[in-house]
C-alpha cells in the first residue's frame, strides 16, 4: 500500500514539507518511487500563472525533439527551471539527462481561443509529446498545464528529493500532493506513478482498484482523447473526477456518489433521490469497489479526500486555518503541521468527502446523505 500526503497552505511551501511527511510514514512504502504534484505555485512561477508549464523527463535527444516540436507549434519558452543532477544517482534511482520544468508562452495563433479549445489543445499537445516519447523512449511527459508542476521518479522519496535538489527557492507551491510508492506492479513505469493528471484535475490513490478493467473500458470508450494511459489502475480515479466535473458538470461532492453510490435504502431517503438514482445507473461502470483512499486537487484550488465504500484504507485530515493537510497516517500530519488542534483531526469515513477550499479556512465535510448543492 502506498502512502499519500497532500497539503494546502496560504503561503507557498517547499515540496520538502510533503516529502518529509512521507518519510515519517516510510514503513508504509518501500521507496520504489515518488510522485509530486505542485499547484498554485510560488516563486518565479507566481508571476506567470497563465503560462502552461511542461513537466517531464527528457534525454538530450528527447529535449532536441521537444524543442523542434514546440517551436513548430509556436510555443516560446518563458521560464525554465533547470534541474541539473549529479552524474551518479543514488542507489535505486535511474540516471536521467534532464528533469524539465518549463513554462511556455502560448503560440500567437492561439490568441483569442475559447478556454475550452485552449485546454483541449494543451491536452492534445501533451498526448502527442507522450506518444513521441513512447516511440523512442526519450521523453516522459507528466503534465502540460498552467500553474502545475509534476515530478516523478523511481527510488526512495527523500533520496530522490536530495538528488534533484528539490529544496530550492524557485520550487514553491501552495498546494502539494505527494505519494510514496509501494510497488506492486512488476516493472516500474513512471506513467504508473501517482499523482495522475488531466486538464487541471489530479488525484492520487492508495490501494488497488478491483474494478479497474470495466472502468478502463468505459472511460476509453467515451470518445475523449485524454482518457488513455492506464499503466496504473489508479489513473481512472483522476479521469472519473474529470468526467464528473468537466463532462457532467457536477461538483466534487458528487464524485463520491459516482464512485461509491449510496445503497438502495439510503438512496430512497435522499432529497436528490431522482438525480442520484440516475447517476448510479448511468455511471454504473464507474463504481469502484476499493480498497482505495483518493486525494485530489481541482482547478479551483480545492483539495479533497474520499474513501471507498467500506473505508478499507487509512486517511486523516487536519490543520489550522491557513494550512491543512491530508495524510495516510497521523504521523505524517504531525510532521507537517504539529501546531494544530488535534482534536479537530478528521478521518473521513465511508460516506464522507473532506474538502478544503482555496481559502484554507476549514475542513468541510460532506456526507453522501446530505442534499447535493447543484451549483453547476
Amino acid at each position: 500500500m502506498c502512502r499519500l500526503f497532500a497539503i494546502t497552505s496560504q503561503d507557498p511551501l517547499s515540496p520538502m514539507v510533503a516529502l518529509q511527511a512521507l518519510d515519517v510514514m516510510r514503513e508504509g512504502h518501500d521507496g520504489s518511487g515518488v510522485g509530486l504534484f505542485l499547484r498554485d505555485l510560488g516563486g518565479p512561477f507566481d508571476e506567470i500563472k497563465d503560462a502552461p508549464i511542461l513537466s517531464g523527463i527528457f534525454s538530450e535527444a528527447g529535449l532536441r525533439r521537444l524543442d523542434t516540436y514546440m517551436m513548430d507549434l509556436g510555443f516560446m519558452t518563458k521560464y525554465k527551471l533547470s534541474i541539473k543532477v549529479p552524474k551518479t544517482p543514488p542507489a535505486g534511482v535511474p540516471r536521467r539527462d534532464i528533469y524539465l520544468v518549463r513554462a511556455y508562452e502560448y503560440p500567437e495563433d492561439w490568441d483569442g481561443l475559447p478556454q475550452s479549445e485552449l485546454y483541449n489543445r494543451l491536452l492534445e499537445t501533451r498526448l502527442t509529446l507522450r506518444a513521441m516519447g513512447d516511440e523512442t523512449g526519450d521523453m516522459i511527459v507528466f503534465s502540460f498545464w498552467p500553474d502545475v508542476i509534476m515530478i516523478k521518479e523511481i527510488g526512495d522519496p527523500l533520496s530522490v528529493a536530495k538528488h534533484l535538489m528539490l529544496d530550492r527557492k524557485e520550487l514553491q507551491a501552495r498546494i502539494i500532493m505527494a505519494q510514496g510508492r509501494q510497488n506492486t506492479n512488476y516493472a516500474i513505469n513512471l506513467y504508473a506513478c501517482h499523482p495522475f493528471f488531466i486538464q487541471g484535475y489530479s488525484t492520487m490513490t492508495n490501494g488497488e482498484n478491483t474494478a479497474f478493467i470495466p472502468i478502463r473500458e468505459y472511460l476509453s470508450s467515451r470518445g475523449f482523447p485524454g482518457y488513455v494511459g492506464y499503466q496504473s489502475d489508479s489513473e481512472v480515479f483522476t479521469h472519473i473526477l474529470h468526467f464528473a466535473v468537466n463532462r457532467l458538470g457536477l461538483g466534487v461532492e458528487a464524485y463520491k456518489h459516482i464512485i461509491t453510490p449510496l445503497q438502495e435504502a439510503d438512496l430512497h431517503a435522499h432529497p436528490n433521490h431522482q438525480l442520484l438514482t440516475g447517476l448510479k445507473q448511468t455511471c454504473r461502470k464507474l463504481i469502484i469497489d476499493g480498497p482505495n483512499c483518493v486525494i485530489g486537487s481541482l482547478p479551483d484550488h480545492s483539495l479533497f479526500m474520499v474513501q471507498d465504500r467500506k473505508k478499507l484504507r487509512p486517511g486523516v485530515v487536519g490543520g489550522r486555518p491557513g494550512r491543512y493537510a491530508f495524510s495516510s497516517e497521523l504521523c505524517g500530519l504531525d510532521a507537517a503541521i504539529p501546531e494544530r488542534d488535534k482534536s479537530q483531526d478528521f478521518q473521513p469515513m465511508h460516506l464522507d468527502t473532506a474538502i478544503v477550499n482555496a481559502d484554507r479556512q476549514e475542513v468541510k465535510i460532506c456526507s453522501q446523505k446530505d442534499p447535493l448543492h447543484l451549483s453547476h
Binding site: M1, E208, A211, P214, Y218, S221, G223, L279, T282, P291
Partner: protein
Amino acid sequence: MQPEGPIAPFSLSIKDLPWQIAWDKDKCTLCGRCTASCPVNAIELGVFRKRQVAPAVGILEAPENQYTLYYGIRQKTDPAYACVGCAMCNMVCPNDAIIPMHGDEIDKLRMHGDRGGQARRRGGRRNDPGSLLDQIKFIRISMLTDPALDAGRHEFELRTLLGRVLPPEQNLKFMAENGWTPPVREIYPLMIGGMSFGALSPNMWEGLQMGVAYLNEELGMPVRMCTGEGGCPPRLLRSRFLKYVILQIASGYFGWDEIIHAIPEMKEDPCAVEIKYGQGAKPGDGGLLMWYKVNKLIAAIRGVPEGVSLPSPPTHQTKYSIEESVAKMIQSMYMAWGFRVPVYPKISATTTSLAVLNNLTRNPYASALAVDGEDGGTGAAYNVSMNHMGHPIASNIRDCYLNLAKVGMQNEIPIIAGGGIGKTGNMAANAAALIMLGASAVQIGKYIMQAAAGCLGSETDRCNICNIGLCPKGITSQDPRLYRRLDVDQVAERVVDVFLAFDTELRKILAPLGRSTSLPIGMSDALGIADKNAAERLQINYVV
C-alpha cells in the same frame, strides 16, 4: 420371437435400447406400481415359463422336464414404447427391485424414432454433457495487496439493471428538460427465463410465482420471472404481483388478447416485456405446444381451440426486416404501457447476434438484449434442432459485450445470457463467469425445474418427454393426475432455497475478487481458462 421368425427393420432387442430395465425377481412383490406409473408403458406384467431338467435318481428312470411359471416385469422393445430412463418405476418400488440402467453403447433406437416419417420430437436439452462455462476459473484473488471482502459480513449489492440506460450526460439533460427518462428496473441478476403456462403445469407455474413473490416481498430480492409465450393467468395480470413478471410476446401472440384487455385493470405495470424472436434450444424455429397439452384451461388462456397443436411460426409474420421488426414492435409495446415498461428482444445465440445488437444500439428504446445459447432447454422441439442448431453462449455474449464496449454503449444495453447456466449444477460459477464476460444478468430454466421440482432430465437423454404431457413429476404435464404429484408450496420453498444458496455462492465468488458494491460486468481480468484457444477467443487469461 422364434429363432426362425421374421425380423422387421425395427425389431430391436433390449440391448439396442438406450435404457435397460434391471429387475430383481427375488425382491419383487408383484405389487404392480412400476407398470402403473411408467409414463410410456415401457414395462408390463410378464408371465415367464421356465423349464427345469430333473435328473433321474435311479438307473432305469429317465430324466424329465419340469415346467413352472413365474410372474415378473417384461420390457417392451417396440420403439414406440421404449423406456425413457425416468426411473419412476424405481421411485415407486417398495423393495427397490427395479431400475433402468443406461446401455453401454450408443443405442439403436435413435435410428428408429422416426416411424411413420415423423422426425423425433422431444423436450429437454441438448444431450451434451460438456460445459465450457465450467472450465472457466476465477483467478484474480484479493489477498494482501488489497484485502479480500467478507462474503458473510460485508454489505453486498447484487443488483443489475434492466432497461435502456442513457449515457450520463444525456440522462442529466433528459431529467432537466423532459422530466422523463426511459424506464430502468433494478433487479436481481438471476432471472427465471421464459417457460410458458402450458409448457409448465399449473402447479409448477404457481409454485414458481409464489417463490418469486416470497423472494421479493419477504426477502427483498428483486427476482423476476418471464412468462414465456403462453399468456398469463387473468388473476395474476390484475394482481400486484404482476410487477415481478416479465411478459413475453412471441410469434404466436398466444394470450396477448387477454393481456391487452387486462391493461386498464392492471394494478401494477409488469417488470418488462420480452419479445421473443428466437430461443436457444431450437433456433430459427417457433415455440411448440403439442396437442396433448392443450386442455381447456390452456386453450382459454391462450385464446385457442382445445386439443390442437400450437406451433408458433419461426418469425413474427407481420415483419419483414430487422429495422421494422425491432423498431415497430418495441415501440408498440412501449406505447401500450405509456412508456413506463422496458421492452427488449430475446434471440437465439447466433453469428448474427451482433447485427441485431448493432441495430438495437440505434434504437433509442431497446432496453436489453437477451441471448439464449445452444444449451437452452425446451418443452418441445425437433430433436435435430435441439442437438445441432445454435451457437455456444460464452463467445456470443463476449462478442456482444466487446462490441458494445467498442461503441461505448456497454452500460446502455444490458445483455442477458441464457442457455446452459448450471447445466452441471454449477449455477453460481457459470452465472459469475458469464457476468464477467459481459452479461448483465442470466436466465435459467432447466436448472430451476430440476432444483425446484425434481425434473429428471439429463444430458444423456433421460426422460425428455416434456412435449407429450406425460411428465412423471407433473412439471410439464397438463394432466391433473400427474401434476397433482407436485406440491405448489414445496416448489415455492425450493425456489427460495435455490436463490438464497445462489446468492451466497455468488458472494463467495465476488468477495475474494474484491467486488461487492456493483456487479462485476465485464471484469474479464478475473477469468482464466486452461484452453488456449478458448482464452484467445474470449479474451481472457490462459492459465495452466
